[in-house]
Assembly symmetry: D2
């Protein structure tokens, strides 16, 4: 066991926050000292069931929480004061407004990819730039799609050299538990303009890469799907690509033998394997889609929008606090604590 | 521990079969001696990971299973021969064709609600007619919708007396892992005619009830939703209805304080509570929807099509083998083994 | 031809407004003198193509319209000033805020069902209370669902007597051209509480009816589906119900011979029949679903949320201006001008 | 008027067949002499309403058609015997089985893209190879996606030269009137392997093009969406691309000023413009998505799966019969008869 457990506060206990909380709780070198909610609802009961102290943004609403049986430990500021690191998982654009609080309290803080790079001045991916995050006060974990792109592009670049990337993101319209957002029956260009923000966002982590991205939204809740074409410097082979996927702790391979050809079937498989919340922390690359022809590499990868950044947050905590200086070791610790055996090793 | 573990075979390891297998494995008085598959795919790997011996319908396909790394224990007939009870979870209309095999082998067998009442000659619901199943060779567990209807109608009948039931089933179009079935953008009457088969099917369990049912299919994978109106003999009260729900081990109450108003949010809550596969074995009745006005009772209940019959299968095994003569005790054993605390006790 | 053409302004040129405009333009006794938009987009181009003068709410935005080639005729107040009747088809809750303008200008105005009954003090359905609307300054045309309920309930009441109605509305989540609203994969109770607002809303037109309604939203854009049970005073027959449907100019019968069992197929049929915008102005009652057993009548009806109120607005204009005193005559005129042959007469 | 009207039979009166029939009927140099159905349903009533003689595949089913009021003119063989050209719009893979009949009767026939190239030995696109179709007995009109790809790739190639195309097809799961096909909530790789069949299919029309295609299916009924990247020989400019689109009679431009960013909004616009069945016969290229950077061109185009091949069938009829030798003239005739003003000229 560790002499010191890093005290982590989760500001915003929603889709990402609740997963980060459970992932922190599973690690041996850190613990959850509190989570925050703005309104009393089912997630408050979940936090309580898990034993996470519940803090609220507006302490004047304390009575409305207590009325339904939710115990309030204090204000968000109280929670942040008690933490070593704050994971800000509030909705996009809200996170930046919390920065003055973290600065005032002189606390380390992590933002999610819904915020601009500038909020932290450093964008993180544990496979690409762990070392550069060591000791930083502020870090931004890039979005789920950018995380998925960085992981695979960086590996292909190391192995074959990347001349240009053309990536299309076919995004889920809303998370499974979200009922107000659509579309119901449409393919929506989001944005219409090219490139989408994903290309420039990859550059915040991998500044030397040439990439054009296009993005749309479709009526599914399951996962994002990426259709990727990479022009490589050296000729590329299917075997070489499979080998680099198998070597990487956060790249998963959907083997042909599983007979899976959709996001829904991946999620069903994850559920059947007993993954908590059916979460897929790794890129899900379809073995059968890998097409290597001279210097052209194409493949499909599915990205679980609710999960892949969760493990990155854990590694960011370790890098920022300096409790672990080696990225590969942190990734291994994170994965092991979550029982993460990449999906190809289950079939 | 029990002196004797009932040997259960699961013929058909799909949506229902895989859940029944896990539920059997969790009980102290029974064990899984095998599961069957017709084709090698991801579910085969799941069975293997769980340690369930894999049998196949067509033994000539053995090589195709072994080629992808799936060990084959023998034929379906081998599996059935070794079992005390066979749970037939093959797709609708296939199950009946397996009856001659079970008869030849003189084995007890359970069919699912996709089969006609006549295949077993007895339709089962553990809350309604457990006693009548004791010692039977053949039992049919009624479908998910009929199970959900029987549970609540029987309780309301015992408490207030039921004059007539008008129930509308708004059904999910396909299970979450199924990608070929629709509709994508339509409300489909299934059937167009009134009553739907659900009304007569309730009568196989509760023959004295007067009920008219109407059913449709909508583009969701989550759960079925029932809109129910019951005309009662005695005046009905909201408090009385909540009380009977709280007393029943398979009736769940979605409390108003959870802020849940959709099937998607129920599933998210179940996932967050750590339920395996996010399964809801209980009826999910919305507290805030309960409308009691003189002799009219209305409410909404959501039914998890993949799960509510699973626990009924376990109880049916106990009744048929006679290992437990009391229905309430069996229900309690089943629930406890699965860690089932009805949903209202989590919030 | 008529000596005088009623001058109609459409305030709000969206889903309903654009249909009302075209329906007005098709009548011999009224004309469109203007339509209004708040922002320049594709609907502005459609208005221009149809030759409807375009007025804008905020005249300071004139340049932004003209920049993209949309000619602006003036402000909304200018438009209202020039009109005999204003059809307010602005989004729900906005309409009421326009009342002071209509009062100031002493103009007749019609609101849609998204507004409260109180805004007009009179709720209209041409089959039920045309006479009571004659000469009124303010009228509210009830919502698409309430319109569909009133039409059929009133007829059944006249023929068989209605003791009680139990109606379930399975509503489309968003109109086909709307891309932001969901749900994507959920059945949402809207509201959770029983009765939904539809029951009380029916009473604004048919105050003597006893009715309990329940409503939910599902992921489709096509049409609403009603599952209705009516307890009648006299015994009811299927033939009698079909006869009253066939007699009524706004009740359509989806005959069994069409092989239609979904909303999507109805819309496809309407499209193939050449209906403008595939609109269904009539209730679409499924012949094969009509179930008559003693004093219980059940059936399904599909309601096209974008269309059924359009014809009611036209009739309301005639009633309010007094240009036609007989409701049946107005309905006939409206239908004829739109080429409306009820759907059963096409197959 | 023309001295001779080409006699066209439509074998298969479904999604494509009914549109081809109406398009034929709108031309001055051809007429519909019959359409065929296998079962009596709503489409039979539509054919009858339009005045198309109805033929049936299995003449022994005549009574089942007549029972519901559908007059049967004869057998499919009778119909084909009477025709100059047969448009085979039967479901994929059925069409090929009709070839012996057409050969026996020595009739000209057109198949759709669901059939293999080999069935006709010639694959057609009116913008690319009209001349090569003149006088042929058998022609295959390529699928909707291939048609959309060929139109734009050929133009870009003529103007800038094409080095390589990378095209991702995000396909609708089912047509709007189809209720059995999914998926409901999934993104499905179809196929998982790269390239999809679309790339090779483009080569049947444009054999010299280098292209890699990837395809998936999503839960929408509206349109296909293509995300396309073309590497050009000469540097490409946005203005140049817009100019070539504006010059081409079957390339439509969704102007930025329309504020449209989805397939649903395009369909709504087409409906509002009064297009029959809301059909989009032209590629719908999003102006705001056109990205030109040196030799890289990217853009999104939406393809209406039910419509874009319809006009190609008309042109194919003219080429095969030789009634018109010039492709551009035929295209102009076809478009004019359908009142097709490309979408950019409506806004």
């Amino acid at each position: 066991m560790y002499d010191y457990m890093i005290k982590v506060a989760i500001n915003g206990y929603g889709t990402i926050g609740k997963r980060v909380a459970d992932a922190v709780a599973a690690q041996k070198d850190m613990k959850v000292i509190g989570v925050s909610k703005t309104r009393p609802n089912m997630e408050g009961f979940v936090a309580q069931q898990r034993g996470y102290p519940l803090y609220i943004a507006d302490i004047s609403k304390k009575a409305s929480f207590e009325k339904v049986g939710l115990k309030v430990a204090g204000s968000v500021e109280d929670m942040c004061q008690a933490a070593d690191v704050i994971v800000d998982a509030t909705p996009g654009d809200i996170g930046a407004t919390n920065k003055p609080l973290y600065e005032k309290l002189k606390k380390k803080a992590i933002w999610q990819g819904g915020e601009e790079h500038e909020v932290a001045g450093f964008s993180f991916n544990s496979s690409c730039n762990y070392k550069d995050a060591i000791g930083r006060q502020f870090v931004r974990v890039v979005s789920c799609n950018t995380t998925g792109l960085c992981r695979i592009i960086n590996e292909v670049d190391k192995e074959f050299g990347v001349t240009h990337v053309h990536a299309i993101m076919v995004r889920r319209g809303a998370d499974p538990g979200v009922i107000k957002k659509g579309p119901i029956d449409a393919t929506v260009l989001d944005p219409v303009t090219v490139p989408s923000h994903h290309g420039p966002d990859v550059l915040t982590v991998l500044p030397h890469v040439s990439i054009t991205t296009m993005a749309m939204i479709v009526p599914t809740t399951m996962m994002h799907m990426h259709a990727i074409q990479i022009t490589t410097k050296k000729p590329v082979t299917k075997e070489g690509v499979i080998a680099l996927i198998n070597r990487h702790p956060r790249l998963g391979l959907i083997k042909k033998s599983a007979g899976i050809k959709s996001t829904a079937e991946i999620k069903e498989f994850a559920m059947d394997l007993g993954r908590q919340r059916s979460d897929l922390f790794e890129n899900c690359i379809f073995e059968d889609s890998i097409y290597a022809n001279k210097n052209e590499l194409c493949f499909f990868q599915a990205i679980h929008q609710e999960a892949d950044v969760v493990v990155e947050n854990i590694d960011a905590i370790r890098a920022m606090t300096g409790i672990e200086k080696d990225g590969a070791t942190s990734v291994q610790m994170t994965n092991k604590a979550l029982g993460l055996v990449t999906i190809q090793n289950n079939h």
